[in-house]
C-alpha cells in the first residue's frame, strides 16, 4: 500500500445542487492534520453532503475539489461509514474479507487480517454469523471495522451512533478514540452534542449548506461566535 499522503483535501467554492436546488455550498474547506472534526448543524444543513463530496460520492455542481491524486487512489486512503450501515449479504467475516480481496490480498492473509479486525471491535465470536442477524450497534461496529481494516488516512463517518443506545455508542467512541491515536484523521457528523464535546478536536458548524463556524471544539463550545451557533447550542430550533 502506498504511504504517500492524500491530505490535504481542499474544497474551493464547492457547491452541490439537486434539481436546481443548492444542497450545500459554496464552501471552502481544507482537511488536513490530525484529530477528530465534528460536523454539526441542524437537519438538512448539508453535513452528509460535505462528507460525500470529500469522498467523491457526490459530484460538484460548481467549485473544485483538490485531491492529492486521482479519485481511486484517494478513496483507497479513505474509509466511509454510512449512517445506515450497508452490509454485504454475506457473513460477518466475509464483510471484512471482501474489501481486502478487492485490493488483491490473498484469501488466507485477508481472513487472518479480518479476524484480527473483528477481535479489535469485539465481533470475533460472530464471524460466521449472517451479517443481517447483528444488532444495530453490532452492524455499525462491523461497518466501522470494514472502514478501518483498510487503514485509512481519513475516516468519514455519517452519524455512526444515530439510534444506538449508550453502551453501543460508548463502544463505537472507544474504537474512534483508538483510531485517532493511531493517526487516522476523522471527520464525522453528529446530532449528539454530548458526543461532540467528548470526541471533537475541531468543529465545523453548518447551517443551510454553508459553514458558519470552523475552529477548535474548546472555543466553539465555550464561546460560539455566531448567533446561529449560540442558538443551536442552547437547543433552539433554527429557522
Amino acid at each position: 500500500m502506498s504511504t504517500a499522503t492524500t491530505l490535504p483535501i481542499q474544497l474551493k467554492g464547492a457547491t452541490v445542487q439537486r434539481k436546481g436546488k443548492v444542497i450545500v455550498g459554496p464552501i471552502d474547506l481544507s482537511v488536513e492534520g490530525r484529530g477528530i472534526t465534528m460536523v454539526i448543524g441542524p437537519n438538512g444543513a448539508g453535513k452528509t453532503s460535505i462528507l460525500r463530496m470529500l469522498h467523491g460520492l457526490d459530484a460538484l455542481s460548481e467549485g473544485s475539489l483538490h485531491w492529492q491524486g486521482g479519485a481511486k487512489r484517494v478513496r483507497k486512503k479513505q474509509g466511509y461509514v454510512f449512517q445506515t450501515p450497508v452490509l454485504l449479504r454475506r457473513n460477518v467475516l466475509e464483510n471484512l474479507v471482501y474489501p481486502l480481496k478487492l485490493r488483491g490480498m490473498a484469501r488466507v492473509k485477508a481472513t487472518k487480517h479480518a479476524m484480527d479486525a473483528l477481535a479489535h471491535v469485539g465481533l470475533n465470536t460472530f464471524a460466521q454469523h449472517a451479517a443481517r442477524t447483528l444488532s444495530g450497534g453490532e452492524r455499525q461496529k462491523l461497518a466501522l471495522a470494514r472502514a478501518l481494516i483498510m487503514e485509512p488516512e481519513l475516516l468519514l463517518l455519517d452519524e455512526p451512533c444515530a439510534s444506538l443506545d449508550g453502551n453501543a455508542t460508548k463502544a463505537i467512541e472507544a474504537i474512534l478514540i483508538s483510531a485517532r491515536k493511531t493517526g487516522t484523521r476523522i471527520l464525522m457528523t453528529t446530532h449528539d452534542m454530548g458526543q461532540a464535546r467528548r470526541l471533537a478536536d475541531d468543529v465545523l458548524f453548518i447551517v443551510k449548506g454553508k459553514i458558519h463556524e470552523a475552529g477548535t471544539a474548546e472555543t466553539f463550545f465555550a464561546a460560539p461566535e455566531t448567533p446561529e451557533a449560540r442558538a443551536f447550542l442552547n437547543g433552539d430550533i433554527l429557522p
Partner: protein, 234 residues
C-alpha cells in the same frame, strides 16, 4: 374424466416400469433445457447486472427491448432458427438442423431475454443498497457485477428457474428446428403434441403429468441444493 384417470394410470405405469422410451424422452428434455438454461444464464445474468451498473445512451430503450423480448413467440424463433440452420441458410454448413443442438439454440434465444430481464430487476434492487458502498470500496465495474451476482445468487435462482420453466414447456420452436424425430429429437412436449394428434389422449395426459412432475422436481431439488428458505448466510 376417463382420459384423465387413464392418463394418471399410464403415467404411473410408465414411471414405475422405467419405460425405456420415456426415460430417453425425459433424459433428452432435461439435457436440452438444462443446457439451454446454463448457456442463457451465462449470458443473461451478467447482462442483467451490466445493465444495472452501466449508464449509456439508449439504456432505457435496451431494457424496454429486453423486457419485450420475454414475450418472443417461440414459433417465430423456431422459424428464424430453422431458416438460419437450413441447408440454404448462413449456418447450413454445420448441419445442425433437426439435432438437439438446434433445439438448444432455439431455447437459448427464447430463455435468455427472460433470465436477463428478471436478473436486471433483482439486481437493480440490490444495487440500490450497494451503490455507494461498492464505489466507496473502489470496486471496478466488473468487481461490482461479480459482487451483485454473488450476493444476489439466491434471488437470481428464480430467474434461472423461470427460464427452465419456459424451456421445459416449450414446444413450438423445438418442434420446428428439432423435427420431433423418434429416438433423436423427441422430447416430452413434442411427444405430447404427437400423441394428441394421434388421438391418444390418455397417453398424452400421462406424459403431461410427468412433465409437470419433472418441472416441480427440478424446482424442489434446486431450492434444496441452494438452501433457499432455510438458514442462510444472509
Amino acid at each position: 374424466m376417463n382420459e384423465l384417470t387413464q392418463g394418471l394410470l399410464d403415467a404411473w405405469r410408465l414411471i414405475f416400469t422405467f419405460d425405456a422410451d420415456l426415460m430417453e424422452i425425459v433424459g433428452l428434455s432435461l439435457k436440452v433445457t438444462l443446457t439451454a438454461v446454463a448457456i442463457s444464464s451465462l449470458i443473461g445474468l451478467p447482462l442483467g447486472a451490466w445493465l444495472v451498473v452501466n449508464r449509456f445512451r439508449m439504456r432505457r430503450v435496451t431494457i424496454a427491448v429486453l423486457n419485450s423480448l420475454m414475450g418472443l413467440p417461440p414459433v417465430v424463433v423456431g422459424l428464424i432458427v430453422y431458416l438460419l440452420l437450413s441447408r440454404s441458410g448462413p449456418f447450413g454448413v454445420f448441419g445442425l438442423l433437426f439435432t438437439p443442438t438446434a433445439m438448444v439454440i432455439a431455447q437459448v434465444i427464447i430463455i435468455t431475454p427472460m433470465i436477463a430481464s428478471i436478473s436486471h430487476q433483482v439486481i437493480r434492487d440490490l444495487w440500490a443498497d450497494y451503490h455507494d458502498l461498492l464505489i466507496s470500496l473502489n470496486a471496478s465495474r466488473w468487481q461490482r457485477i461479480k459482487a451483485l451476482l454473488w450476493d444476489g445468487r439466491r434471488a437470481l435462482l428464480t430467474a434461472m428457474l423461470a427460464g427452465f420453466g419456459r424451456g421445459i414447456g416449450e414446444v413450438g420452436a423445438i418442434m420446428i428446428v428439432g423435427g420431433n424425430i423418434d429416438h433423436h429429437t423427441r422430447v416430452l412436449t413434442t411427444a405430447i403434441s404427437l400423441e394428441t394428434g394421434k388421438g391418444n389422449f390418455a397417453f398424452a395426459i400421462g406424459l403431461g403429468l410427468i412433465l409437470i412432475a419433472l418441472a416441480i422436481s427440478v424446482n424442489l431439488v434446486t431450492h434444496w441444493i441452494s438452501k433457499t428458505e432455510r438458514a442462510s448466510t444472509w
